[in-house]
Structures are given as C-alpha cells and as structure tokens.
Subunit: 429 residues, 2 copies
C-alpha cells in the first residue's frame, strides 16, 4: 500500500460534512485498505469557525474555501455546502487546481451539470455525486455503470423524504396537508421553509439528474415539469382508497414509446397499493427502474440525513481516490444519445378527475361528450348525488396531458359543471 | 472514439449467452458510445455447433473454447457456461492470454473466487461477476463500490427465485411443498432436478460471494450453513400467519455484535409481514443491506432469466472494456479484514418451535424448565389440546443456535414430548 496519504478538502461541515469527517477518522484503516492508500483530512472550510466541531483538529478549519481548493496539493474536494454559489465556483476552481470532486449538491448538478462535467473532463478529473440523489441509495452508480449495457425506459421514484412523510401521514391518519406538515416540521422532517420540498423543486432537481443519466441525454432543470403536493387533500386520499390506490409525490423520467424522445416530471400521483412504491413509508425513498433487459428493479433506503448521505459521499470518495491512484478517471457525462426532451403536453398517462356538477339528468352525457371530443377515453365513471349537488369521478384510459388539459378547459365552460375539485394522474399500473 | 473494436469471446450460448450476443448486436451503437470503442463478437464457444443460433454468424461458432481463449487477440472473455470445469480452466487460461473476464458463474466464484481473483491480479486483468448473484439486480457493484466508505453489518436476502416462487405459492394458496414444486416445474421456474435450488446450494453459493464482499473477508462455500426448504409444510405457513409472518428462504450474512466475526447461512425463516422482504412475490429476488452509516437499503428485481442476467453481464462488459481502454482495472478482491468466519452454533436469532406433547398437567412446566436450563429465554407459548394430544408452540427470545440445538435435544428426551414438529428461525425483526 502507498503510505503517502491522499489529501481531502472538505467544503462545509454541517450535518453531512461533520459525519463525513467523523467516518474518515473512525474508519481510517478501512478506508486506507479499500483505497490502497491512507486519506487525510487536509482542510475544512466553514462559515462559522468559532463553532466547536468534535473530532476535527481546529488547525484544519478555515473560512477561506477558495484558498483551500487552490492549495494545489489537494487530491479530492468534497463539496457539501449545497446551493449554486459559491459551490459552483469552488468546484471549477478545484478542477483547475488539480483536484477531483465529490459533491452532494443536487441543485447545482441539475442546473449546471453539463458545464461541471465539461470542466472535470477538460482537466482530466472526476466528478462524482451519488449523494445528490436519494441519499444513501446507490442509484447513480447502478444507472451509470450496472445498467450501462441495457436500455432504460423509465425511472419512477419517491425521491423526497419530507413529502413522503407528509403524504404517508395523511394516508394513515386521514389528516389534512397542513396538519401533516406541522407534524413533519415538529419532528424535524420538514424545514422551517418547506417550499423546496413541498413544491417539488428538490425532486425536480433529482429528476433532471436521473433522466440525464438514464437516457444519456442532457435534461435541464427547466425541462422538468413540476407540480407540488400542497393541494393534495384528505378527500383525494379517500378517492385514492376507493380506487385501491395511495398518493405519492413521484419523479417520473420516461422514454416515449417510439424511443425518440423523453420526458421528466414531478407531481403527486395515485399509484395502486400493489405497486412496490405504495408501501414506502415515512421519510424513506425508493426508485423503480424499468429497462429492456433487466426488467423492473427497485432501490430503496433512507433518502436523506447526515449518516446516509455521508455513506454515499464516502463511497464516491473511495472510488475517486482509487481512480487517482490508478491514474484514471471514472465514467464522465454521457449525453451522446441527445434525445429530444418533450414537454408535459406529450406525456401520456391516466387521470382521476373529480367534478362538482349539477344533480340533474343529462350531465353525465354532456361530460362524456367533452371527453370524447378531446379524444380522451373514459375507463370508469362514478356519480354521487347529495342535496341537489353531485360529484362525478372520472378515471380515464391513457391520454396525452395536452388532451386532458383541453378536456378540463372545456369541462369548466359547461354550465352544469360547478367546479373541478381535483385532477390526479394515475401511475404505476 | 477509438475505431478498432474490442474483441469479445463468448463461452456458452444458452439462455443467457444468446441474449448477450443478441444485445451486443442490436445495441452495438449504444455500447460503443458508452465504452468509447466498438465491441465485436469475435467467437462463440458452444457444445452443439449444429444448433441454429439466430443472429450469430456461424463462422464465429466453435466447439474449441480453449483455442478461442488462447487466441491472444481477445480483450474480454464472457463466461456463461456455469459449473466448475471447464469454466475454471478457461477463465485462468483467458487471464494468461491477456483477456479480462466477465462471469455469471456463482458456483465457481463461491468455490474458487480467491484463486480466480489472484490469477486476475497476477496478470493485471479484471474479473467481474455482477450476474452471479441475483441476476439483474445491481448488488456486487453497490456493495463493492457504493458502500466502500461504510461498514456493512448484515446482508439479508431472497436470492433464489425458484424457491421464492414455491414458498409464495404455498403461502398464497395453502398448497403443500410438492404441489407448489410441481407447479413451478410446469411453469419452467424449477428445473427437472430442483436440488440445487430447493436444498439451498444455489443460495449458499450466493451467500458466500455476498459475505466475502460485504465483510472484506474470504468466505468459503463450506463456511456457509445450508438448510433447504423441502421440509417446510402448509402447517408451518399456518403458524407463520398466526404470528403475522410469512416464510422465505433467506441468505443471511451477519457481522457479530462484537464486530470480530461473521457468519453466513441459508435456511427457511419466518419474517414479519411488515418486513419489505415479505412482499417479494413469485420468482423475484430482493436483498436487504444494513450498514453503519447508510442504514437499511433494499435492492429488488428479477433474480434470474436470460435477459436480466444478460443485462448484468453487459453492464460488467462495458465496465471492463472501459477499464481496458483506460489501461486500468477495477477493484479486485478485498479480503484485508480477514475476520473469523464462525460456525452456525454462534449465530444468535429467535426460534419458533412446534412440539407435539401429551395433553396433561405439568407438561408446560417441564418444557419451560428445559429451555431455562439451556439459557434460552421464552417469549411466548401457545398450547392447543386435541384428543388427548396437544401441541405447544414456543417462540423464544434471541439465543445462540448452539443453545437452541441443546434445548431441542433435551426436549426430545422428555417422555411427555412426543415429537418436535418443526423448528423455524424468526428473522428480520
């Protein structure tokens, strides 16, 4: 084994960073044996240097992250700051100064992955980011390497633990959205400002990353259709139960049936209780992958948290260090397929639509005509009358999102339709 | 991209091999783009050359596998013959003649993995075998690479599709073992001679491979305790149901709580219905991995079949070809931890024991005394009397297998114990 250690600079020492530093110390012998050389924590860039960090030599702590990545003797920079800047500049500076990079930064990778990969490639360095998607669950590596000889057609997953916790709570207790969110906040599963999670921004970033890798095509964050889960109601869950379904916030990356284009989207959806994703509880994540040869695979585990994320970071660190010792790099960006990324209108799926309608004869015929005129075929209809008002629940066959949108616009114009109570996609069948 | 192709020799052209050849042809452009050079099927060694093989140039077919691997211009040998010989000699010959190897051969890897890894290392070549365990499910790569920075404590999995199909059928229909086996055979899930599957030999080979990788320790096939599932009865399933459990044939690789030793075993076991492995249906496989930092991960998918296995083989092929172009090799055997592999007696778990006893006062006291004398603490007891006979179902707390064995021997000597109807371990709690 080489005795000269590989030097690691840690950018950020919060929940994830402190766990990375801890494991680097406690598991130093194992890491050295697995890499073939010891790894040494050479510096830790933080915002608040005065904070006591147990187990970290205060002499390593600096507030000057730029100087740290510019030192020139750093082998690997571990970036766990998050956000776009200064992370982006620090990562490119690291490449320029000879370091490879391990990052957990989904927002940055989703927004600027192509440029960062280009910078890594230009300098012959590695950029690894298993921790950016679904925490500890090995997902990037299986998609990028294990399935490298296969053709992935769909990635369907629960990639945000906060929203899964909230939806699971609503499902199991009948609580409304706000009540379940309050509990998630109290238990530390949701942040004080939960926007990134509940509005689907976090999941959309992960969907962009997953779609890019799965389809060997650049998928920008803007390409991902995004709909949060704040409008999901207890009534929606009752409807889902009647259909033998539950509701999950899903990230769905799909190849069109003709193979020529792909889509990526994040939205709440009903899925059958028999689907493996339906039983993913609490803050867990799970991702279903469908490919030509392998068929259906599922990857399940904790999607967030300091330790799980640190596990993913350290797995990447070992790989990057091994590559460095071998004088090589791992697989970089693979975007050769360059497929068209279609908009949401092209997505084809099924829909569950609840309408508030007048309780009088002929309404169903009117509604059914609107569906037919827009080429949306109806699977089932259920009518419930109450006090002169009635609700009509329509479940469609597969139709394009554009056709469904046209249908709903036309429905809203009918005198007999008082309102569209909810529209929910039905997936995983 | 390099234009000179990498040459692949395929040993075996059965269900898996023909699928590997087919995908190499139909996905040639994708494979070339992902590898960075085209791959060419340079030869196919078969036993029956006269058989028509659609899509394979007859000029490539040979019965002389040895001459094929000795050609000297082969970059990668794909071995999908199975069995010990001639596969072992062909693989070592391939290394000697400059080729790297992708194998799907669990029996060979479990028996001679160390020697094969040594041969690969000696010649600076790769030995990859993702397809040897759990078909298409990425498992070797996640354990060996994604979790390289973590400490794996347990691998608990359903790694044999045939037995899972049979047990699932028994569970869902109340059928007995023979009836369920007959159905599995009729549907092609079980071979004419099902011994390797139902007696746990296949799962034991996979357990040895998984334990070796998970614990960075050589685990020989002989180190794996093995108990088949032919004795599992419909009555066992009724008992399991009463406990809120089902029965699965599990491969379990565990680190002892003191961290100094490991065990590997294959046997039927009760697991709670709430455990994710309980809902693995039909011929699917799933493996649960528990580690210090990542927590609980699960990997699920088709565990066998031509296409899924070919997917795993081709993923390895892409990786090995990339390594070759980069003039490097991937991670080899990692056995540095060299932990003690303990025997079954050291395994600590819970037990479900059904006894046929005389229906008279004092029997429970006698039985309970035997458990106490052997240091096995009882969790619950259920007595059922019928026609002068009674059954006693005891569920224990955690105890060593050695203590349990001693207890059962002593129970058999009691006059009041007519027989030990079944002993089943309880896992996954």
């Amino acid at each position: 084994m080489r005795t000269r250690p590989l030097k690691v600079a840690l950018l950020g020492c919060g929940v994830v960073g402190s766990e990375v530093a801890r494991i680097m110390t406690t598991h130093a012998d194992d890491l050295a044996a697995r890499i073939g050389a010891p790894v040494e924590l050479a510096g830790v860039a933080v915002r608040r240097p005065s904070k006591v960090r147990e187990g970290i030599d205060p002499a390593l702590v600096t507030t000057d992250a730029t100087a740290l990545v510019k030192r020139g003797d750093i082998d690997v920079v571990v970036e766990v700051i998050g956000g776009i800047e200064p992370a982006r500049t620090l990562i490119t500076t690291a490449f320029e100064h000879g370091a490879s990079v391990v990052s957990a930064n989904k927002a940055l990778l989703a927004q600027d992955g192509a440029a960062l990969h280009a910078a890594a490639g230009q300098h012959g360095k590695d950029l690894y980011y298993e921790a950016a998607v679904a925490g500890a669950i090995p997902l990037i590596r299986p998609l990028r390497e294990s399935l490298a000889g296969d053709k992935v057609n769909r990635v369907l997953g629960i990639v945000n633990g906060t929203t899964n916790f909230i939806l699971d709570k609503m499902d199991s207790t009948g609580a409304g959205y706000q009540e379940a969110l309050d509990e998630a906040t109290a238990l530390g599963y949701a942040e004080a400002d939960p926007t990134a999670d509940v509005e689907g921004f976090d999941a959309a970033a992960k969907a962009a990353i997953l779609a890019g890798i799965a389809f060997h095509t650049r998928v920008r964050l803007d390409d991902v259709y995004r709909e949060g889960m704040t409008e999901v109601t207890a009534a929606d869950f009752r409807s889902a139960t009647e259909m033998g379904c539950t509701i999950k916030l899903l990230a769905i990356c799909e190849r069109a049936r003709d193979g020529a284009s792909v889509t990526a989207r994040v939205h709440p959806a009903m899925i059958p209780l028999s689907h493996p994703l339906a039983s993913v509880r609490g803050a867990y994540n799970a991702v279903f992958v469908e490919s030509d040869a392998a068929g259906q695979l599922m990857f399940y585990g904790p999607g967030a948290g300091g330790s799980p994320t640190a596990s993913a970071v350290l797995g990447d660190l070992v790989a990057v260090c091994r590559n460095r010792l071998n004088g090589t790099t791992g697989p970089g960006e693979s975007a050769y397929a360059d497929l068209t990324v279609s908009s949401m209108g092209e997505v084809v799926t099924r829909y569950h639509i609840s309408l508030d309608v007048a309780d009088k004869p002929g309404v169903l015929a009117q509604v059914a005509t609107v569906f037919a005129e827009h080429g949306v075929s109806i699977d089932t209809v259920r009518q419930q009358g109450k006090d002169g008002e009635a609700s009509l629940v329509v479940v469609t066959h597969r139709a394009s999102d554009a056709s469904l949108t046209g249908t709903v616009e036309a429905l809203r114009k009918l005198d007999t339709v008082r309102g569209v109570a909810s529209i929910m996609r039905v997936e995983g069948e």
